[in-house]
């Protein structure tokens, strides 16, 4: 349901009545084929929201080329007809599909659901009101969103970076960070938006790629690149791309005469006042909750934080204050794509937990007639040529293509359709297949990427194997890209049809395979992430084995006291342990480790070994790796020699026990980034800044006369944590910035420690006498992570953390099917992110465990035993470890050949591309099929 908003949520968890108001689209989505004829004729132009005002759109429009659903809509505020019926109506005239409906009306829907997920997102801060940056006045001051559009190939300048004022090439650009973030005076948003540092670096790097010689400068307060692989990206931006970073908050942007150049004044790191000119200034605008979303929160009756984000608990990060209503994404605090995607899956897990008892109750299965065996029949190819309204037919001479197709070998039937994808044409194709006894089908229309699944269903409905169809893409690859060349487009359409007909002749029936699933889970690691994942799976009704190396559940959380928002960790962890222990679907194996792994998705057999050497084999369908991480032991800052130098975790313990040195101490120095962001450990440990600030606040609160210093490189209290940093400064905790080349020095003076650091504001070295020095030490991956990774055939990254399949699209999946990752094993992170990731892993796992068998696409590698001689070249190239070498016996002689595990095979065909003997092929893409396409392509 698009163009819809929720106006009321009545009822309770498990039984909500949701009222949805659907605004009229004025375009029938069933009929619209998104050809774009309407938008071409529409005379009304307005600013494009998607292009952030950098370009125009029409009154009838689709938001952007990849929009889902790809259907047009009419903007009632701009449409001439809707303002004055009868005045225009061009779109209705040109729409061949008859999709325009000016009489469309608002509809109210009442929906009965068990749970609600709120994912309304954010808006970017509008810097117009604040005035100081010149936005809205100076044409060459733009927001980062606008720059994003300028740099995009689909943007208003097709990726060329030009100045809006005079369309001249940009030579010098400045980025100003924290516009609309970390600023209560100008915008009222005190929090950090979390994502702007990274996007500014990315945009600066891309802009430099686009414009050779471009100078790009980022003015910032703290560089917050705390995510996985972000620190390396920052370093590469400096060293490889040459982006300049200046630590200074810029207070304003001024114009220089009538040149539209922009003047920025700032203080450089030597303390000198500098005036510099730029062609363009980009404002790195922050994230905020829009007004209509605040109204939605009120409608939903959920609590919000002071920063106007949905309030959640750190141990239930997707649960709002109202039971049965969940949240994910930037609505619950500013966050980047990977974390938003993680939370999306986490919300699904939380919903599944609530609704597990009614799983599959509303689902139905489609039935199809019995499949006809055509293996011994002569090919009888039917060709259906689509006009796609006028999309194809206005460029390609479809009648000539039809005539030509009829002359091709094995083609026994040809027909043209206005829209091949419409329901009536589908029914007609089924009829023709049966009438004409067709056994291979060519659809000459659009792209198989969107429409092949539809036509496969059509074949199934006609009793044919679904793989006996081939599409000729005469729209996206032809009529749309050769609009002004109908002669060549028609010739090309003939070629494409000939190629498809040649290929389809060699198509054979392929059988989709299904693999049975052991509906049990294995979770490795009994920390917060492991327990959360295990408990969620158990509550969804699945049996779970939880393997823990030590004799205690709890993991690293046992060392921690409070989350950033102040929740008491020991209480919550105890509750979690109790829940796990009392759930009889969770089988706990303490003091056990994984010693052997066999099998594949749905069918793993894992051997665990306990302390006494006893082994047990567990059959499971999925595995979640949540093995946590360790803490590094520092060898600098006198840690090894002085009792007055401790790590953060040690300090927490001493502080809690009211140890006498800590109690008596009057001067505390925290040193950040010990073992992080340097040398081989070029990553941020993410949690230490917040941890140190929290500890500092606690000791200052106990006795305000104490001197507390935090020596930091960049203070990374991201998101709503920023309020702790603000509070700490207000309390008089002293923050001193240091650079990697000028690290603090700690000297043992017996009864005191002496800390030397260069102060960048005073521009002189400082000597601080400290009673206690607290080192914010790095989080390190488990030293044996690689061994476990090898057992499960999953990868670890260069730092030694487990590597997910894709940082944004599949943040908790491994590329090995059925394996998932959560918690510190993946990367350092605070508790609420570990919990969200654990829930996400559980949700992803449940998509498999909730089925008795998983059906897989039939496009898989198959061995031809007549040709395979077991040379094994393909084994090394297979990225999915799907191929093994087996022995065969022919006429008493023992030889070798390969065997493909279809469950692991993804049909990529690297084996086929490597095999020197045609001993392996991928169904649907055999050498013969591809050769036939080549031959057909070059035949005329």
């Amino acid at each position: 349901m698009t163009l819809s908003e929720v106006t009321n949520i009545a009822g309770n968890a498990g039984n909500f009545q949701v009222t949805v108001k659907e605004a009229p689209r004025y375009v029938d989505v069933e009929k619209c084929i998104a050809c774009g004829a309407c938008t071409e004729k529409c005379p009304k132009k307005v600013d494009s929201e998607y292009n952030a005002g950098t370009g125009k759109r029409k009154a009838i429009y689709v938001k952007y080329a990849q929009a889902v659903p790809l259907k047009y809509q009419i903007d009632p505020e701009a449409c001439i007809w809707l303002k004055k019926p009868g005045a225009c109506g061009f779109c209705q005239t040109v729409c061949d599909a008859g999709a325009i409906n000016f009489n469309d009306t608002e509809k109210i829907h009442e929906i009965n659901v068990g749970a609600v997920v709120l994912a309304p997102g954010f808006e970017s801060f509008d810097p117009t009101e604040a005035k100081v940056w010149g936005y809205g006045v100076q044409p060459n001051v733009i927001t980062a969103m606008q720059l994003e559009r300028y740099l995009s190939a689909s943007g208003p300048t097709e990726g060329h970076l030009v100045r809006p004022s005079d369309h001249k090439a940009v030579n010098k650009v400045a980025f100003l960070q924290c516009v609309g973030s970390r600023d209560e005076n100008l915008c009222g948003n005190g929090y950090c938006s979390s994502v702007c540092c990274m996007y500014a670096i990315k945009e600066a790097v891309i802009a430099k790629d686009h414009v050779p010689g471009l100078s790009a400068t980022i003015f910032y307060m703290d560089m917050r690149t705390h995510g996985k692989e972000f620190e390396r990206y920052l370093e590469r931006a400096k060293s490889d791309s040459g982006v300049r970073f200046v630590r200074c908050r810029v207070n304003g942007v001024e114009s220089e005469g009538n040149t539209n150049d922009l003047r920025i004044r700032y203080v450089n790191e030597q303390g000198r006042q500098i005036e510099e000119f730029f062609d363009m200034v980009v404002l790195s605008v922050g994230l905020q909750t829009p007004k209509h979303v605040l109204a939605l929160a009120e409608t939903a009756g959920i609590q919000m934080t002071a920063d106007k984000f949905a309030a959640t608990s750190d141990f239930a990060p997707v649960q709002t204050s109202r039971e049965g209503i969940f949240t994910c994404g930037a609505f619950a605090g500013p966050k980047d794509i990977p974390q938003s995607v993680v939370e999306g899956s986490a919300a699904a897990a939380a919903v599944a937990d609530l609704l597990a008892p009614v799983r599959h109750q509303l689902s139905t299965e489609a039935t199809f007639p019995t499949e006809k065996d055509i293996s011994t029949d002569e090919p009888r190819v039917g060709v259906f040529i689509c006009h796609c309204g006028s999309n194809i037919a206005s460029v390609v001479d479809v009648a000539k293509v039809e005539e030509y197709a009829a002359t091709l070998p094995h083609v026994t039937y040809v027909e043209r359709n206005l829209f091949s994808c419409s329901q009536d044409t589908q029914d007609m194709i089924v009829k023709r297949i049966q009438e004409q006894n067709l056994n291979r089908i060519v659809i000459a229309a659009c792209t198989p990427r969107t429409h092949e699944p539809l036509f496969r269903e059509t074949l199934k409905a006609a009793g044919l194997n679904e793989y006996l169809v081939e599409m000729a893409n005469i729209r996206n690859h032809n009529s749309w890209v050769h609009t002004k060349d109908p002669v060549h487009a028609t010739a090309k359409a003939k070629d494409l049809v000939r190629m498809a007909a040649a290929k389809v002749t060699f198509c054979t029936a392929l059988k989709p395979i299904s693999v049975p699933i052991t509906q049990k889970g294995l979770v490795i690691g009994g920390g917060v992430a492991g327990m959360t994942a295990a408990l969620n799976l158990a509550e969804q009704g699945f049996e779970v084995h939880l393997v823990e190396r030590t004799d205690t559940l709890g993991g690293n959380a046992l060392y921690l006291k409070h989350t950033w928002s102040g929740e008491h960790i020991p209480t919550q962890v105890k509750k979690l342990i109790d829940n796990v222990m009392s759930n009889d679907k969770v089988i706990i194996h303490k003091e056990s480790e994984i010693s052997k792994v066999e099998g594949f998705v749905g069918n793993f057999e894992t051997t665990i070994k306990n302390r006494d050497g006893g082994t047990k084999v567990i059959a499971h369908g999925i595995g979640i790796i949540a093995t946590g991480a360790g803490i590094m032991t520092p060898d600098e800052y006198c840690y090894q020699t002085s009792k007055r130098v401790v790590t953060s975790v040690e300090f927490d313990r001493l502080h809690e026990l009211k140890e006498k040195h800590v109690r008596a101490a009057n001067s505390f120095v925290f040193i950040q980034c010990v073992g992080s962001r340097e040398g081989d450990a070029m990553y941020c440990s993410k949690v230490c800044c917040t941890h140190s600030v929290q500890s500092a606040i606690e000791i200052k609160e106990e006795d305000p006369s104490r001197n507390v210093y935090i020596l930091y490189r960049d203070m990374r209290t991201y998101g709503q944590r920023e309020k702790l940093y603000r509070q700490a400064r207000q309390m008089g905790i002293i923050f001193i910035n240091y650079e990697l080349h000028g690290k603090p020095q700690v000297i043992d003076k017996g009864d005191k420690m002496e800390v030397m650091v260069h102060d960048h504001i005073l521009h002189r070295p400082l000597k601080i006498e400290a009673d206690i020095v607290i080192l914010a030490t790095a989080i390190r991956p488990q030293t044996d992570a690689k061994d476990l990774a090898n057992l499960f055939k999953v990868p670890v990254d260069g730092d030694g953390f487990f590597l997910e399949a894709h940082a944004k699209l599949r943040p908790v999946d491994f590329s090995t099917d059925g394996m998932y990752v959560a918690g510190l094993a993946h990367y350092p992170k605070p508790i609420e992110e570990a919990v969200a990731q654990a829930l996400a892993a559980s949700a992803r796992a449940a998509t498999l465990l909730s089925k008795k068998e998983v059906s897989l696409d039939a496009i898989k590698a198959t061995v031809d035993p007549d040709f395979c001689d077991g040379c094994a070249l393909c084994i090394d190239v297979c990225p999915f470890h799907a191929i093994t070498l087996v022995t065969k016996e022919v006429d008493g002689k023992v030889g070798k050949l390969i065997s493909v595990n279809k469950a692991k095979c993804k049909g990529c065909g690297l084996c086929q591309g490597t095999c020197p003997k045609r001993g392996v092929y991928v169904g649907g893409f055999t050498m013969q099929q591809i050769s036939s396409q080549i031959e057909a392509a070059l035949a005329v």
Partner: protein, 65 residues
Amino acid sequence: MSFEPKIIAFCCNWCSYAAADLAGISRMQYPHNVRIIRVMCSGMVHPELVMDALGQGADGVMILG
């Protein structure tokens, strides 16, 4: 008559084939000489197929992935 080369382009279903689709959606105009063959991965393209294409008169072969 001017020379009209014929070029065979092997496009990976997941990236370059999708990009060619998007070029269509964006109505980007380009020369008509390319014939695209969809494969499930550019690694699937056997060297023999490239030789095949050149041998049968293709003026160029692109493997996009």
